[in-house]
């Protein structure tokens, strides 16, 4: 699996902040550097957010990439509209993008309106689909479900993401407008996050890539601020999205587009894992639609955004009240159907052979009981249980545990003194009994 979260190996200091925060336990520190276990990464960006050294990045393309194409289309994610404190004029923002060198703008927010209408139609007509339908708009959530909740995969809305719909449509329009063949059109997503960046490079539900490059929203934002100053007043009418599409930028936006349906909107990846577990266990009250945004506050909280997510959220809420309804008309959901079936990518399986897997699990439990249950992170794993797992999977060692090491030191030194060489939290006379409900 391919990703857009990377780490500056030179500058990573090997602290365990990201290890502890990763919702899928995908990070380990080894030899003073963090490493990402690729199969477990969902590109949610939590590690980028929490890194105190700002060592983790979402890989985007340099702005120059647009010059590789004769005709350049910008796909601004709807969260872009929440970034500006001094303007709520979508036309001005979009005209600023043209000033920066793009030949055309295609709002992701406009495509989001089509998707909203298509979802409504699916909810109204299609009885083959299980309830609740789960939004497939956040690629981090889709990855999480494909990896950890395969039973819920049929619940995902079987439509492509708004940015993909916007890319497909704009390539056609741009080709007509410029007279150039479609492959000479360059389409660039202005992305709020690593998850969307990855989704453009390695589409999950499309046969081919439809976006040619990804630009970081923060990078674009800085340039855009000055470009907007060069826009002649009044800016041309470019915006085609209304309150519904713009509203998608914040958590709850998709839900507001389905006012007569029973919906639950959840933001924040940890909260999402909890609600999906409840759904899997049949513990949720019956609802029609689940909107899930990996980032707190929704896409305005994406790691590549510039504005404080709460401020941006308020801005989006205000915009949805100010801007006029769009003229976008419903199109059949088939127009936006996923072209490829999502694939289950298990990342939590110990062995393909059932008996082997069972043996490994037994060994993990055995090891875990021998570990102190402090979840201190000194071993570079997020918890004692995770270290036990690593040992069995061959990517960790018993001596990685500072307690285990102490025992060894005691054996060698033959004295209780070894305790003094441990950091204060770990100095202890005797080992404590560990219960199974601890150190999960």
């Amino acid at each position: 699996m391919k990703h857009s979260v990377t780490l500056d190996k030179e500058r990573c200091r090997g602290c365990t902040t990201c290890v502890k925060h990763c919702p899928t336990e995908a990070i380990r520190v080894r030899r003073g550097r963090a490493h990402i276990i690729e199969e477990r990464c969902i590109d949610c960006g939590e590690c980028i957010r929490v890194c105190p050294n700002k060592m983790k990045k979402a890989v985007c393309d340099p702005f120059d990439i647009i010059n590789n194409y004769k005709y350049k289309v910008a796909l601004p994610d709807q969260s872009l509209y929440g970034q500006f404190r001094n303007t709520g004029d979508l036309n001005l923002i979009l005209a600023g993008l043209l000033e920066m060198g793009f030949d055309m703008v295609a709002e992701v927010a406009e495509a989001a309106e089509y998707i909203s209408m298509a979802v409504r139609e699916l909810l109204e007509k299609n009885d083959d689909l299980p309830r609740p339908l789960i939004s497939s708009a956040c690629p981090a959530v889709v990855r999480l479900i494909c990896m950890r909740f395969p039973k819920l995969m049929p619940h995902l809305v079987p439509l492509i993401a708004p940015f993909e719909a916007a890319a497909i449509k704009s390539r056609k329009l741009a080709s007509e407008a410029s007279g150039l063949p479609p492959e000479e059109i360059g389409i660039f997503l202005i992305s709020p996050c690593a998850a969307k960046a990855t989704a453009t490079r390695y589409p999950m539900s499309l046969e081919n890539k439809v976006v040619d490059g990804v630009l970081s929203m923060t990078d674009v934002y800085k340039e855009l601020l000055s470009a907007m100053k060069n826009v002649k007043d009044p800016p041309p009418k470019l915006a085609r999205s209304g309150p519904i599409g713009v509203g998608w930028a914040r958590a709850g936006g998709e839900m507001y587009a389905l006012p007569d349906k029973k919906c639950i909107a959840v933001d924040g990846i940890e909260n999402i894992i909890r609600i999906l577990e409840d759904l899997e266990d049949g513990m949720l009250p019956p609802v029609d639609f689940l909107e899930l945004d990996a980032c707190n506050q929704g896409c305005v909280g994406g790691v590549l955004t510039a504005e404080n997510p709460y401020v941006a959220r308020a801005k989006i809420a205000m915009l949805t009240k100010q801007i006029p309804e769009s003229e976008n008309k419903a199109m059949s959901p088939e127009k936006f159907a996923m072209q490829m079936e999502l694939v289950h990518a298990p990342a939590w399986k110990l062995d393909d052979d059932f008996l082997e897997a069972l043996k490994k699990a037994a060994r993990i439990e055995e090891l875990r009981k021998q570990l102190p249950g402090l979840n201190c992170g000194s071993c570079g794993a997020p918890s004692c249980r995770a270290l036990a797992e690593d040992i069995v999977l061959g990517i960790g060692n018993e001596n990685d545990c500072i307690f285990r090491l102490r025992e060894k030191m005691q054996n060698i030194a033959g004295s209780e003194k070894a305790d003094d060489y441990l950091p204060p939290p770990f100095r202890r006379g005797k080992k404590r009994e560990v219960h199974d409900d601890e150190s999960q």
């Binding site: 266990d281 939590w348 399986k349 110990l350 059932f354 008996l355 069972l358 043996k359 699990a361 409900d437």
Partner: protein
């Protein structure tokens, strides 16, 4: 029983939100072993209902879980009031839960019936004034995990 796993959990009687710990842990392990999702779900429901019952009716207890190649055995033991009429307790909708508990969404009287429904074997050993022991067995489908 060559490759057997034994887990044990204390279920705190004073905490509704704590119930579910054992159920979540079992889910995780079964998923790692590669047990099919349906079996995982059945085990999780049995365990969760058992945990909840110990919290709301018996002031807590212990849960022991044994996993081997055949399936999962769950043993829920408490020193609570016991069940006077097991046949009655097994009926759908029967509950002695107090109002306060019902307001929290528990006490629909479906716990024991669901445990019966989702397990392959269920045994209730109870004595009024002494406590209750519920043993549940969920067998893996033939051929072990299906990889889902």
């Amino acid at each position: 029983m060559s490759a057997a796993i034994h887990l044990s959990y204390k279920v705190d009687g004073s905490d509704f939100t704590g119930a579910g710990t054992a159920s979540a842990a079992i889910k995780r392990i079964l998923r790692e072993i590669g047990v099919d999702m349906d079996t995982i779900r059945r085990c999780a429901i049995c365990m969760y209902e058992g945990e909840i019952n110990m919290v709301i009716h018996a002031n807590g207890g212990t849960a022991d879980v044994y996993i081997d190649t055949e399936g999962v055995k769950m043993v829920l033991k408490d020193n609570g009031p016991g069940i006077a009429d097991v046949e009655q307790a097994m009926q759908e909708g029967f509950s002695t839960a107090k109002e306060g508990v019902r307001d929290l969404g528990f006490g629909a009287g479906m716990g024991l019936p669901n445990m019966k429904k989702y397990s392959d074997e269920m045994l209730i050993d109870t004595e009024v004034g002494k406590g209750t022991k519920v043993t549940l067995i969920v067998r893996f489908p033939k051929g072990g995990g299906d990889g889902a």
